[in-house]
């Protein structure tokens, strides 16, 4: 079997992390992230934020849905976290250990996003700790919203 000159040479290099594939419902979220903005789907009828974005507003149930992706502050609090010590997605094997956080955004009670804590596993973690969004460029035109602890 021939090998291309630029083929990955180590086993781990062959594993790629899954990139988000935007769809008709989520496109606005990922477009905003690429501009380094955190924007959440908001119902044009009642103003409710839905995340993950939905096809019908979870609050007003309008059968004539109309949504906009609205930039939010990017500030929130940690509702929970886990330090990942095993990778079920092979592309994350070299990242062990890393921190996954569930962040409740300040705009609306219960409005949460799953993300990664950029500070890493040695950070001083606590329920309710204040965080703010940062962005990690992962591919041309794709950035992932992550969070970092806010000092003090």
């Amino acid at each position: 079997m021939s090998t291309a000159p630029d083929a990955p040479t180590s086993a781990s290099a062959a594993f790629v992390k899954p990139l988000p594939r935007p769809d008709e419902v989520s496109q606005g979220y990922w477009d905003a992230a690429a501009r380094r903005e955190l924007a959440i789907q908001r119902c044009d009828h009642c103003g409710w934020f839905n995340h993950p974005p939905d096809v019908v507003c979870a609050q007003c149930m309008s059968p004539d849905p109309s949504f906009s992706f609205v930039r939010v502050s990017g500030r929130g609090r940690i509702r929970s976290w886990t330090i990942m010590r095993d990778a079920f997605l092979p592309g994350f094997r070299d990242d062990v250990p890393w921190v996954v956080v569930d962040v409740e955004l300040e705009e609306q009670a219960g409005l949460t996003v799953i993300s990664r804590l950029a500070d890493g596993p040695d950070a001083n973690l606590a329920l309710g700790a204040a965080v703010r969004v940062v962005f990690r460029d992962v591919a041309p035109g794709i950035a992932l919203p992550e969070f970092e602890l806010v000092a003090g």
């Binding site: 594939r21 886990t82 997605l89 996003v113």
Partner: protein, 399 residues
């Protein structure tokens, strides 16, 4: 009371069962194990194969690995089983959703109570595909996965880690408390001949030294994937009276209600408790019984924190107190509430609600042999997390 009641109470009974060996990888195809186990259950019930006229199960492979699951190989659907038993069923239906075993028993009870079928075979066939169970080679995260997989957040152990960590932090619980739970489950599982963990109890030290997966979840907090099959036969109370085994009656059931928060990514601790409390409320209202009428509440434990959540939503502990309850000996089979006498999933293998249902059946039909507990008249078999899954109540006499 708002007037809801379970009008089929005591009208449908479990009249026989069979349980395969529980192995990491069976040498035989899952479909073959299912045929063998189903025929054994039918014989155990004192019936002929061609008397079975109804089939149900929840047939999914509960893995995040995205493995292909051919019918008869990775899963066994009701229709596959009917075809391969050469039966044209009057009724066959699969349960969609979580709480696959409690859910399919509910469907089977409804089919019998309505007359859609006379003898229903409820089975559950679980397979353990080759390779790592939850490992997923996806390179693109589409649909629900786009919100989690780009962060490496994938698979049930990590999903459970978030609400479990919330629990530990909010209530100051320790992993030592959970060691008590694992020691009890593995002690009881070690006594069960068909268990994957037969004769293999563990110590608290074993638990605390186990490999961490996603803090605070370690490998022993997760039930081990296995190949195994269970089958049960349901029929009416009248027909049960003519059959050889002592019938065990269905006294009530409930389903959780996850709401929007219970989608396919994960649930917060509050969402689990709210949906679970709704389920418990349905159970008490429709059955007319309460938690302290149940002698044998077999709680679901596919992931160990579910034990805490079920203890609390069913009302055996106040919210936040389950970790103290277990440390105080509350779940000892000998001296406490026997919530784990059947060994559960953590003491048997990833049999998805089967250990709970089977323990209720064996104890209430007085077929538990040397494990038989005294004075067990009402049991509860729980499945899944309380907000996603459900529970079926069984009784030794028609209530």
């Amino acid at each position: 009371m708002s007037g809801h009641s379970f009008t089929a109470r005591g009208e449908v009974a479990v009249v026989g069962y069979a349980m395969s060996a529980v192995e990491r990888h069976s040498e035989r195809p899952l479909g073959a194990l299912t045929i063998e186990t189903s025929l054994a259950a039918i014989r155990d019930a004192g019936l002929e194969r061609d008397q079975i006229d109804g089939f149900t199960t929840g047939s999914i492979l509960p893995s995040a690995g995205g493995q292909a699951t051919a019918d008869g190989v990775g899963v066994v659907t009701p229709n596959w089983l009917a075809e391969h038993l050469r039966i044209r069923p009057r009724w066959a239906s699969g349960f969609q959703g979580y709480g696959q075993l409690s859910g399919s028993v509910m469907l089977g009870v409804n089919a019998i109570a309505s007359g859609a079928a006379d003898y229903v075979l409820v089975h559950r066939a679980l397979s353990n595909p080759r390779g790592r169970y939850h490992e997923n080679p996806m390179t693109e995260a589409a649909g629900g996965a786009q919100w989690t997989a780009p962060y490496g957040f994938w698979g049930p152990p990590a999903q459970i880690a978030l609400p479990y960590n919330e629990y530990l932090q909010r209530y100051g619980a320790s992993r030592d408390a959970m060691a008590t739970v694992l020691v009890e489950l593995r002690k009881n599982g070690a006594r069960i001949p068909w268990s994957y963990w037969h004769d293999r109890p563990i110590t608290a030290r074993d638990y605390l030294d186990a490999r961490m997966i996603a803090d605070p979840i370690c490998i022993l907090d997760c039930d081990i994937p296995v190949d195994g099959v269970a089958a049960f036969v349901l029929t009416t109370r009248e027909r049960a009276a003519d059959l050889p085994n002592r019938p065990v009656y269905v006294a009530g059931f409930c389903q959780g209600s996850p709401g929007r928060a219970g989608g396919n990514t994960f649930s917060s601790l509050d969402a689990i408790m709210e949906g679970g409390e709704f389920a418990a409320q349905q159970l008490w209202e429709t059955s007319g019984l309460g938690p302290h009428d149940i002698d044998l509440p077999q709680l679901y434990d596919g992931f160990s924190p579910f034990i805490y959540f079920w203890l609390e939503v069913l009302g055996y502990c106040a919210p936040g107190e389950a970790h103290q309850f277990v440390q105080d000996g509350g779940i000892s089979t000998e001296t406490g509430l026997p919530i784990a006498s059947g060994g559960g999933a953590l003491g048997n293998g990833r049999m998805h609600g089967v250990p709970q249902m089977l323990e209720c059946y064996l104890q209430l039909s007085r077929r538990a042999g040397e494990r038989q507990l005294p004075s067990i008249d009402v049991g509860l078999a729980c499945h899944s997390a309380p907000h996603w899954g459900g529970a079926v109540m069984y009784s030794a006499e028609p209530l």
